[in-house]
Amino acid sequence: MTEATAQIPPGAVKSLGKPAPRRRGIASVNYWWFLIPAMIGVFALIAVPIGFSVYFSLRNYNLQLGSDSFAGIDNYVRLLTGRNADFIAALGRTLLYVVVVIALDFVLAMSQALLLFSMRAGWAKFWRAIFILPILIIPTASAVFWRNVMYAPHNGEFLKVLGLSDVVSPPLGDPQLAFWAIIVTVVWAWSPWVFILLSAGLDQIDKSILEASMVDGATYFQRLRTIILPLMKPVIFVTLSFKALDSFLAFPFVWIMTMGGPGNSTHVLSTYIYQQAFTLLDYGNGSAMAIVMLVISGGLSIAAIFIWQRFYGKEA
């Protein structure tokens, strides 16, 4: 026992080792005061808008027609029973968009990240700067650039570069191609975001493990399959979860490049809802669609959180 501790009375030591129980009432009251600003923010920015949307979704509220009457769940019934075929098509297209964009983003970004991971540091920095260039352009500008330059109907530079200008018609005017043309643009513009996160994840891998496996004679693909990808799983999961939600809410590229056309062939949920609510002023129907979309995206978020906690929570 040191000199200092010897001078402390036994009761005091006990009280230092185990804090005295808080006086519950006062402590909890103080705590809640600090939460009020955040609660006001949540209420004003989340609860109120959602509440209004729910309210409007239960009404036949159309500013263009000047109608406003209680409709009960009619708007929802029309949507969920498939009577609005365009909504169902937009929903299906949105899900396809999410899956394809995630898959392409992952393959492209992971390939780039792995390439740089095995590169010398100087070159890796150079290529990293090149790869992330598209993300520095704001999405609206990217969409306008691809709409007016790359896919421009009277120039078709992109198709000329590929030698396809005589084979393929400018894609944004073709109902079969327009949707895929938008996906190409989106992957070009936003895969660097996935690349940055995956690249950062790769940099966290302990290289000594990889060196040890090389000493043991593991091939590149064995290392990739048994070491790199398993260690990267949490990063990949979080990155793709965010990307999935982001893709589900996709709006600017579709709206700027095609506004949902030609022939409604590129509408995703957000553009379709925007058109119904803000172009055609059918707020009742538009609000019901927005709530359905909110439920789906909320479900995706909760599933992502659940999976994260179930499989990676302890590791994290």
Binding site: L63, N148, H154, L172, D174, G261, G263, D282
Partner: protein
Amino acid sequence: MKNRIKRGLLLAIATTGVFAVTACSATTPTPEATNAEDLRGQTIKVLVSSGHQQFNDVWLTELPKFEAETGIKVELDKVNTTDISSTFLRDVTVGGCTIDNVEMLDGGTAAASSRMADLGTFLEADGSSADELLKGQVKFAQTAYTFDDKLAFYPFYSGAKGVAYRQSWFEDPANQAAFKAAYGYDLPNPPTTQDQIVDLAEFFTTPTTSGIVFSGAGDPGESTIDDLIFRQGVDGFQDKDNNAQWGPAHPDNVKKVTEAATYLTDFISNGYTPASIGAMQTADTTANFLAGNTAMDYDHVYLAWNQMVAAQDSLGTIGSFEFPSAEKGNGGISFYWGRGIPECSQHKAASWEFMKWVMSDDIQKNALTKGVGVYVPTSVELLDWAVEQGIVPQGVADSVAHAKAYKVTPVTAQLRQSIGIPAYEKLIGNQLTPGDYAETLGNQMQDAANAAGITN
């Protein structure tokens, strides 16, 4: 503490009461009761389209002069063309009516009309009348802005489809001889029938040039076929009972729409248009024409007329003409804007002063000459002046002058935007035959009108 809360509550109640009394007693001055001095110090909020860059110079240099002269402060709120109707309707229904003056696009006029003040009363207070004003307007504008005998909007801005063409090609003796040899009649300059347009489109189509270009997508595309449908003899989108003009109630019109759709798509299937027409809107057709690739551009050619005039140095003479109608006397479609004053505005008199100023010939001439781009004025006198000055092409002026007035209801915008545009794009994309296009579109329009509960 309790006393403080009580005092606070009493103060809040008293303040609310004062506001309520003030609001109730703040009656809107009638046109007769106002004079210039009363308006000094008032602030009006004016909702304009951000797309109307023709007025850039007016807002920048002339508006401050108006403010200094009248003492009325003008707050300009520029919003996207597609958002202007919803922004306005939101404001006057649930937004507290903060807007005092608004530019309204044709599709939004019917829905907004019941919320607008009768401009006739303001005109009468100034010693004029609605009839007097409308007498000086192009034909369609004499009825398009009036709802239930109320002049809801001041006629302002119009547009119509016209054709810009390579006049020097048409005047080339070699071309004229070759055309006569091939078709047995003189090369028409400009053409006056739809059949002549087909012959010309075929004649000028070569491996490197197209005979004709028009918008194949979006709103500009939909309005192209509407123009042809009107020229085929169909009178608008809805009849007097609000039924679809080419729906089940009008089988005769279905045939006319089929003919219009066949006529237009034949240009594509015969290879007289650029292959990429399905992706083209006005900006693209203009670029295509200005690149020297096409003989005739059937679109909103007035928007880029100054560029076309400037391009004559390299392309040779460019002329314009109104697209011929299938039957003589059938005009095409017009696109128009009006300015209005909401009935709920608290500054109607100041708003009217602003209206008179912005619609004056001097200000409109300023917009037409110094702004970015061109619009087509609805005033006959101003339109003639704009044509004389070379600002507006003659072909478009003719189209506007002959344009057909058509009924606009609260559902018209929906019929055109959510049903008409996708159907047109499917027609151009070869997903619908002309017959299917006419029938499907007509049925869908009728369903939408029925669903809206506006048919009789």
